[in-house]
């Protein structure tokens, strides 16, 4: 790693001030950023660690909305998001236990890895990404590979999830990395069903709208039987070609619908 300073602000305001410095970068749990720094693919002058900011931690259910602090670890979400069981289950299966002790929801969403789990939950739930100065709808937030609506120095302080009637996440794991080769999050709300797919597209997480329409009319695995997910723009690599991923999208969607509760 190149040399850099690490600061540990105690409040969001202090963190925002620290991030306005030259070549400053936010550090969440570091489970992606630290390996990136080791490869010298990033060279910040200052890392602003968000791990000491208590106001960004915690899970709170209130009137059909589950609010999770941006600095909340996957392990805490797994243990405390009982109001949204599908989300708790997703968090409980990210990476491995050590990664879940450190990695945070805000860090995952800010990074927007095309194979990460959380983006699918946020998009399928129509979540709201809360930052230090505004609220961003999930539909506007994800803008492609490792690209989001966040501005330079903007911090995710919380994520608000409307709790669905039923939901489930199915991940077909790439066995070496434990990231999803294809992951599908299905969430059923009173006004319709949302289906978000991660791991599959070269453009990052996306909604499978044909499946949403079919499932909104008939919420059963059979409803997507006649559909075919398009292989256009899907990732083609040694772990699976685009057609294989397209096939998995349908299979994972059916499994998620069948398992939804």
């Amino acid at each position: 790693m190149y040399a850099f300073d690490v600061t540990r602000p105690k409040t969001v305001a202090e963190a925002v001030a620290a991030l306005s410095g030259d070549e400053a970068q936010a550090l969440g749990g570091g489970q992606t950023l630290i390996p990136t720094l080791k490869q010298r693919l990033a060279a910040p002058a200052t890392l602003v660690s968000l791990s000491a900011i208590d106001e960004m931690k915690g899970v709170c259910a209130d009137g059909g909305t589950l609010t999770i602090g941006g600095g909340t670890t996957h392990a805490t979400v797994a243990a405390e998001a009982s109001a949204y069981p599908a989300l708790a289950a997703l968090a409980a299966n990210i990476g491995d236990p050590a990664v879940r002790s450190r990695g945070t929801i805000g860090g995952s969403l800010a990074n927007n890895d095309p194979s990460a789990c959380y983006p699918s939950a946020a998009l399928a739930s129509g979540a709201t990404i809360v930052t230090n100065n505004r609220e961003i709808a999930a539909d506007d937030y994800f803008q492609g590979l490792f690209t989001t609506a966040l501005n330079e120095g903007e911090i995710i302080t919380a994520v608000k999830f409307p709790v669905p009637e039923k939901a489930n996440y199915q991940k077909f794991v790439q066995p070496a990395s434990r990231f999803s080769l294809v992951g599908v999050f299905v969430a059923k709300y009173a006004d319709g069903v949302r289906v978000a797919v991660t791991g599959a597209s070269e453009n990052g997480v996306f909604r499978w709208k044909e499946a949403e329409a079919a499932l909104s009319a008939n919420f059963s695995a059979d409803a997507v039987e006649g559909l075919t997910a398009s292989a256009d723009g899907l990732i083609n690599d040694l772990h699976g070609d685009a057609e294989y991923r397209a096939h998995l999208i349908k299979v994972m969607t059916k499994r998620a619908v069948a398992a939804a509760k």
């Binding site: 040399a3 690490v6 050590a98 990664v99 450190r102």
Partner: protein
């Protein structure tokens, strides 16, 4: 350089670290606690697993500065107070849960963290919990067996392989 202070295996320790100093380097180089191993240095293998404030973390993927004020336990802190091995460590010996031993510190730290929240895990639960710990001798079978035995469960049904 910045001064950090943390409690390691019950003892308060301090040292000067750079921003980029990893927790594992602070433990191994400054504290000479070389039981914590660096296997891959890419956050994959789990040989560097330690407990920070009771939670298992990969000490190669956390900065020493982030552990300022924390309570850290390493493999050196896992034995009994009288210097003998803990039940979990003894079980690894009894059931041949190690071959070259390189991954063992991480396996013990991961397993003890599982047993704290799940005192009688199933074989599947143990294997799921060990997903972040890689054994280069591929000795998982006896590692799983050792953990089941340490949790007081009958392992006679698990065939030797």
């Amino acid at each position: 350089m910045t001064k950090v202070t943390m409690t390691v295996n019950g003892k308060s320790v301090s040292g000067e670290v750079e921003g980029r100093t990893l927790l594992v380097d602070f433990l191994r180089d400054a504290q000479r606690l070389t039981g914590t191993h660096v296997g891959c240095d890419t956050s994959q293998c789990g040989a560097c697993t330690v407990h920070v404030d009771g939670l298992q973390v990969k000490s190669c993927t956390m900065f020493a500065l982030e552990a300022d004020g924390a309570t850290v336990t390493t493999i050196e802190g896992m034995g009994n107070a009288d210097g003998t091995m803990s039940a979990l460590q003894a079980s690894f010996q009894e059931h041949h849960g190690l071959q070259c031993g390189f991954c063992t510190p991480g396996m013990i730290m991961a397993a003890s963290s599982l047993l704290k929240v799940n005192p009688k895990p199933t074989e599947a639960e143990i294997r799921h919990h060990l997903e972040g710990n890689i054994c280069r001798c591929t000795g998982y079978h006896n590692i799983v067996k050792a953990i089941m035995a340490a949790s007081g469960q009958d392992v006679s049904a698990i065939a030797a392989e």
